[in-house]
């Protein structure tokens, strides 16, 4: 009788083994990312007479030297520590957007005594930053992403973000000048408003030069997916696309693959010209050093978010040094350089408005009538869920 039932039966040992394996796997996901905490790089106050040191925590979602998003923030943090006396930096890299970041923030506050924390990745905000901000009302949290809502979120949370799409617009202008066929490509991670806005601004920049220019978008689905990014770059090269840019955490794979295929590139996040010496045109870079230094000075002057001395929402574009363009690469023609410089000047003076009607989505719906425009600081632009005409791709 017992033999008949043998077909499907789990022994106690097998059940235990399964449970162990599952829970251990859960742990892998949490601890397997190898966090390393670097001790403070900033100078401790030289003499005890100055104000007591302020501990500022920075948290990155990836490695600090990834040629990308995290490197841009880490360079800004280093500039803050170097320029503002009395600030001590604690940093942790490769912290996933899970409860792991809550643990990191907690230990920065409770063990290192951090009074200001910059969790830099988009996905840290809700619920992790919000929960910790409720719990530690005297610690200031600055989030890069622009998600803060007055009255909804705790008062010790602030958000700052750059209108890097202005730099993408200029990169689009340069790219269209260099691409005879007007075929551009964009390797994107996820269809969130910031990414869509970069794609759209890049395309609008290109179409201001060549009205027939198109941007082919390929989504990889994740912020760091090296194999898919390489595949996407290769398939674009196969389709005869002439300039490729991207919005992923680390553009290194895209830049190197495109260079190998003889395709021109436009960078993102940081300067990638060493990766693609032949084909690198320019790139949209973050410029966090000036912003972080300014914030650092305000912290040392005793200003806080809670008291209202520091605005809860900090925004800016090319004119406010939130972002910049990489130096033009060797391939860029003089004509393209002049057009790029003119676009920068136009944006900085406010004469050039990127989202200027008439504007349609790539599915034919109207965005703006002919006499309307949306300035860079228009909040409508931050809810973007469409591609403009000229983009080949779909957001859903």
């Amino acid at each position: 009788m017992s033999d008949r039932n043998r077909s499907f039966r789990l022994s106690r040992r097998q059940v235990m083994r399964g449970l162990l394996a599952t829970s251990a796997f859960g742990l892998t996901a949490k601890f397997g990312t190898g966090c390393a905490q670097s001790p403070g790089t900033g100078g401790t106050t030289a003499d005890g007479s100055t104000a007591e040191e302020l501990v500022v925590g920075f948290i990155y979602v990836g490695p600090k030297d990834d040629f990308g998003y995290n490197q841009a923030h880490a360079e800004g943090a280093a500039a803050m520590a170097a320029n503002v006396p009395g600030i001590r930096l604690v940093e942790e890299a490769s912290v996933p957007e899970t409860t792991a970041v809550a643990e990191t923030m907690r230990s920065m506050i409770e063990i290192d005594g951090a009074k200001v924390i910059f969790p830099t990745s988009f996905g840290y905000f809700d619920p992790h930053i919000l929960a910790l901000a409720e719990e530690f009302p005297d610690v200031q949290f600055f989030h890069a992403g622009g998600l803060y809502q007055e009255g909804v979120h705790p008062k010790n949370v602030g958000s700052y973000f750059g209108y890097i799409d202005e730099a993408q617009y200029v990169a689009g202008v340069v790219a269209a000048h260099m691409s005879p066929a007007g075929k551009l490509g964009f390797v994107a991670a996820k269809p969130i408003p910031q990414v869509l806005r970069n794609v759209n601004s890049f395309t609008l920049g290109a179409r201001s030069v060549n009205p027939a220019a198109t941007t082919q978008v390929i989504f990889t689905g994740e912020w760091a997916e090296p194999v898919k990014e390489a595949e996407a770059t290769n398939s674009m090269a196969d389709q005869g696309i002439e300039v490729i840019t991207c919005h992923v955490d680390s553009p290194k794979v895209v830049m190197e693959t495109a260079e190998r295929r003889g395709v021109m590139t436009s960078g993102y996040h940081a300067d990638q010209s060493p990766l693609a010496p032949e084909g690198y045109l320019t790139g949209a870079e973050w410029d966090w050093s000036s912003i972080y230094t300014e914030l650092g000075n305000e912290f040392m002057a005793g200003k806080t978010l809670m008291a209202g001395d520091i605005p809860h929402i900090l925004r800016g574009g090319l004119a406010d040094n939130f972002c910049k363009l990489s130096p033009y690469g060797s391939a860029v023609s003089d004509e393209a350089k002049a057009a790029g410089d003119a676009a920068i000047a136009g944006i900085e003076s406010g004469e050039l408005v990127i989202y200027q009607g008439p504007l349609k989505t790539n599915t034919g719906d109207d965005i703006l009538a002919a006499d309307k425009s949306m300035k860079t600081d228009n909040v409508e632009l931050e809810k973007m869920d469409y591609f403009v005409e000229g983009v080949i791709g779909s957001v859903s």
Binding site: S7, F8, R17, L20, A21, A24, F25, L27, T28, F31, G32, T33, G34, A36, G62, P63, D65, D66, F67, S94, P180, A181, K183, Q216, V217, I218, F219, T220, G221, E222, A224, E225, P226, V227, K228, A230, E231, A232, N234, S235, M236, A237, D238, Q239, G240, E242, S250, K252, V253, E256, T257, R261, G262, V263, M264, P274, L275, I392, G393, S394
Partner: protein, 315 residues
């Protein structure tokens, strides 16, 4: 920039190219795991081995290029990756054979250990560029640049393909192959034959980890050709699952790896020709494929055909 648009031909070409490029780590890891599992032990830690191999290869290639030149350096990197894999394999082999130690649990610990070690030592190598392995162009007959670029075969791919018949022959026709199978199927019989179960398993695990390490080298020195902490993105674990539905047959490991490599290219290739809906679905293709094949081939009525008898048993 005289590249012509390929249009729809880009899809099959992309998948073909993706197959040739992306299948190398799957192939090497699954062959290594095949050998390991034939001896009756599972090594889930190959995900960690893959990462550690990728890091070692990149680091050694970068550091030695100044001394031995950029042509030899990547090969030294490959060797280093294999040796690094063997070290991790030896740890797994020893630990998992201790009394009342579960090999699955040790494997998971080794994923964390290998990955953590790779990230720890790999920090300084994220930014620099290491010399890459050369590729063998076999697309010279075509005038189209995309075709030429798609048909760049990595020597590691050829190595993997060459190992397939060798391993098949090894299991079928050699005394050592018989030892491995005996230990894996019936340790008692193997013991009665006078074979050391410990050393046969140890050798199988170490050799399998060597292959997985070399698979890691193909990630960092061939395609996509960088070292980052997320370079493996679960490929090591997928390769372990792949062995199960390859039925522990080296030849089927080859076909399954090619399938997985090609499936990775599906999403980007379709989007590049304008099929942009459901890209999450296309991107998930390899995982869906795994699930489907698992569902089709698994049955509670019988054990999997071809499974080594002692696999997953404490002995």
């Amino acid at each position: 920039m005289a590249t012509e648009a390929l249009g729809w031909w880009g899809v099959p070409l992309g998948i073909l190219a993706g197959t040739l490029r992306g299948s190398v780590p799957f192939l090497l890891v699954s062959l290594g795991e095949c050998l390991t599992e034939k001896s009756g032990k599972i090594n889930l830690g190959l995900e960690g081995t893959l990462l550690f191999g990728a890091m070692s290869a990149y680091a050694i290639s970068y550091l030695s290029s100044g001394i031995v030149g950029p042509t030899l350096a990547p090969w030294l990197g490959v060797l280093a990756a294999g040796v690094a894999g063997m070290v991790l394999g030896a740890i797994h082999g020893w630990l998992s054979q201790q009394p009342r130690v579960n090999d699955v649990a040790v494997g998971i610990a080794m994923i964390i250990f290998g990955g953590g070690l790779a990230n720890f030592f790999g920090k300084p190598f994220i930014q620099p560029q290491a010399p890459q392995l050369p590729t063998i162009p076999i697309g010279g007959w075509s005038d189209l640049a995309p075709v030429q670029s798609a048909l760049q075969i990595s020597p590691l791919f050829l190595l993997g393909v060459a190992i397939v018949p060798l391993m098949s022959w090894f299991f079928k026709s050699t005394r050592w192959g018989l030892y491995v199978r005996a230990v894996g199927d019936s340790p008692d019989a193997a013991l009665a034959m006078g074979i050391s179960i410990f050393w046969v398993r140890m050798a199988s695990i170490v050799a399998g980890s060597f292959l997985a390490g070399v698979g890691g080298a193909s990630l960092s020195l061939f395609y996509p050709g960088v070292w980052t902490e997320r370079i493996s993105s679960g490929q090591g674990l997928m390769a372990v699952a792949l062995v199960i539905f390859a039925r522990w047959q080296p030849w089927q490991c080859l076909w399954a790896s090619l399938l997985f490599g090609g499936a990775q290219a599906l999403g980007p290739a379709f989007q590049s020709v304008g099929i942009d809906s459901y890209y999450y679905l296309f991107n998930a293709a390899p995982y869906i494929l795994t699930l489907l094949i698992m569902i089709i081939t698994c049955s509670p009525q019988r054990t999997l055909a071809g499974a080594p008898g002692a696999l997953g048993k404490d002995s």
